[in-house]
Amino acid sequence: MKPLVLRLRAAPEQRLDMSSLTPQRLAGKSLREIDGVELQTTRRAVRVGDLFHASDGSAEHIVIAGGSERFDRVGEGMSAGSLTVDGDVGIRAGRRMAGGRLTVNGNAGHWTASGMAAGFIEIAGDVGDRLGGPLAGEVHGMSGGMVVVRGHAGVRAADRLRRGALIVEGNAGDDAGSRMLAGTLIVRGAAGARTGYLMRRGTIVLGMASGDFGPTFVDCGVHDLTAHRLMAAYIRESSAKSAELLHVPLRRLMGDMAVLGKGEIFVAA
């Protein structure tokens, strides 16, 4: 099916709220109606037609040709279909996503996949801080689905992760997996300091050990587990390189014993 293509004509002059441009919110709209959708975040109105050239296609699949770090809330709340951005996006991309597929062929800002419940997000570049994490005042972060970041992630990736899988093919910043409740975080490269800080449950897999995990993570030995094979099979299609991490025996650290202590970090032995 031919996708709906929105071609960027000029760089935006203000931050934009792109959450209206999802398959379900544009379903059934004519090109003229789409051109009239407002995106501004200041008092000065910006409509789709002002910034983009829209070419007719099914809104079930949307392609935004061109990006900007001022494109905030791209794919927020989307529940079906696909949305592809050929360029960078700003904060909160894929926040509260409930289904469908979001692809960003560029970098994404903070709170990417924040509170996501289902679906699939692929970021070709880097992401900012708090990947999948909650906004202030929210009880938990991502609760389902899968996110693959081909580049690096900022600090506190997978903060308060509840369920689902986050894969960072590059490195992650400090406090990766902080306060995790459950779920899976895989960092193919290295992670910064305090990985798994105050995690209760859940699984973190690290490609490169980042030195000391502190006294509240206890060494449980080197193991080749069936669970590794299941995780590898689950992520192989989305990140074959990360799946390879799970094909060798890994050291299991349990923690964070400062809290519940039922989480685990797997690192190369």
Binding site: G144, M146, R163, G164, A165, A182, T184, R201, T203, H223, D224, L225, T226, A227, R229, L230, M231, A232, A233, Y234, K262, E264
Partner: protein, 315 residues
């Protein structure tokens, strides 16, 4: 009607009468096929008949590493029971005692469906608080720490209400040697049929039963009409030349699977021929009033194309 004879084997103009059952399919994996099979064999022991075992279970087929969820060798086991509750209890107890305990094992559901039986959701308590829940996409596993590592078990498995139990073939031969040869040929052929199992020892039952007995409280007793040593004393079903009878009982996930299994069995018996195998093939029924599934032998025979369709519902 002319007696139907194929390669010297007489095919009775009768049908097998079978019943609706509840069934689950699970995959057991291990580090080697040997240990996957061992867990499956242990789990399906003492599961020949719902009359006395609570369920009927056997290995359906062996699976290559690329056919299992965790990429290890495995076997597929089918478990049949008369009710979802029985199936739930049997599955939990058997997996808990025989698969959980087997070295390196893991256990997964192998049917899709809305209606689910608890498996890992029950067995997880063995972990005494150390069990780990892992959701990967649509599948939910429990990881239970055990002495050789972890036992991984899917939280729930689907059950089917379309399963059929009690498809059967009666193999009548001049002597026990010929009856066994024909039965073995049929078992080998039926083993290749997917979604169907033969729960009796090696797939063969020598003690076919009738419903009820002269003794109070007995649900089943020897099928005297087919006992060669009683032929003069009872209303026998045996011809003078028959000296031994064996039965193959078939349970399938679908009616079609049972029909396919019976068809494969009859073909193998006919191909073996009367000289070294069976003189006659028959099937057990209760007059057609009890079970909704009827499998007519002649329709299932190698040249039975113009007879009634196999597995048709006659109610």
């Amino acid at each position: 009607m002319q007696p139907m004879k194929l390669n010297g084997v007489r095919i009775d103009d009768t049908f097998a009468e079978a019943f609706g059952m509840r069934a689950a399919a699970i995959v057991i994996t291990a580090d080697s096929l040997r240990w996957a099979r061992q867990a499956a064999v242990t789990m399906t022991g003492y599961a020949t008949s719902v009359i006395g075992c609570g369920c009927e279970a056997a290995i359906d087929r062996e699976l290559r590493p690329n056919q299992t969820p965790d990429g290890r060798p495995g076997v597929r086991v089918l478990v049949f029971a008369m009710s979802a509750t029985d199936l739930q209890n049997q599955l939990r107890n058997r997996v808990g005692q025989c698969v959980l305990t087997s070295p390196g094992s893991a256990c997964y559901g192998d049917l899709e469906g809305e209606e689910r039986l608890k498996l890992g959701d029950s067995l997880r308590y063995f972990g005494d608080g150390w069990q780990i829940s892992k959701r990967l996409g649509a599948r939910h596993y429990w990881r239970i720490p055990v002495m050789d590592g972890e036992f991984v078990c899917e939280a729930t498995v689907a059950l089917t209400r379309a399963a059929v139990g009690g498809g059967n073939l009666l193999i009548l031969a001049a002597g026990s040697k010929q009856a066994l040869a024909a039965a073995e040929a049929a078992v080998e052929a039926i083993e290749a049929v997917p979604d169907a199992i033969m729960p009796f020892p090696g797939g063969i039952a020598r003690s076919g039963s009738k419903i009820g007995a002269k003794y109070k409280g007995m649900r089943a007793s020897t099928n005297d009409a087919y006992c060669p040593t009683l032929r003069g004393a009872v209303k026998t079903a045996l011809d003078p030349e028959i000296g031994s009878v064996l039965e193959i009982v078939i349970d399938g996930l679908t009616s079609e699977a049972v029909a396919n299994a019976m068809r494969a069995g009859v073909r193998a018996i006919v191909e073996l021929g009367a000289a070294t195998g069976a003189a006659r093939v028959s099937a057990g029924n209760y007059g057609g009033k009890l079970g909704p599934h009827h499998y007519h032998l002649r329709a299932l025979s190698p040249d039975g194309g113009d007879h009634a369709r196999p597995g048709e519902e006659e109610t």
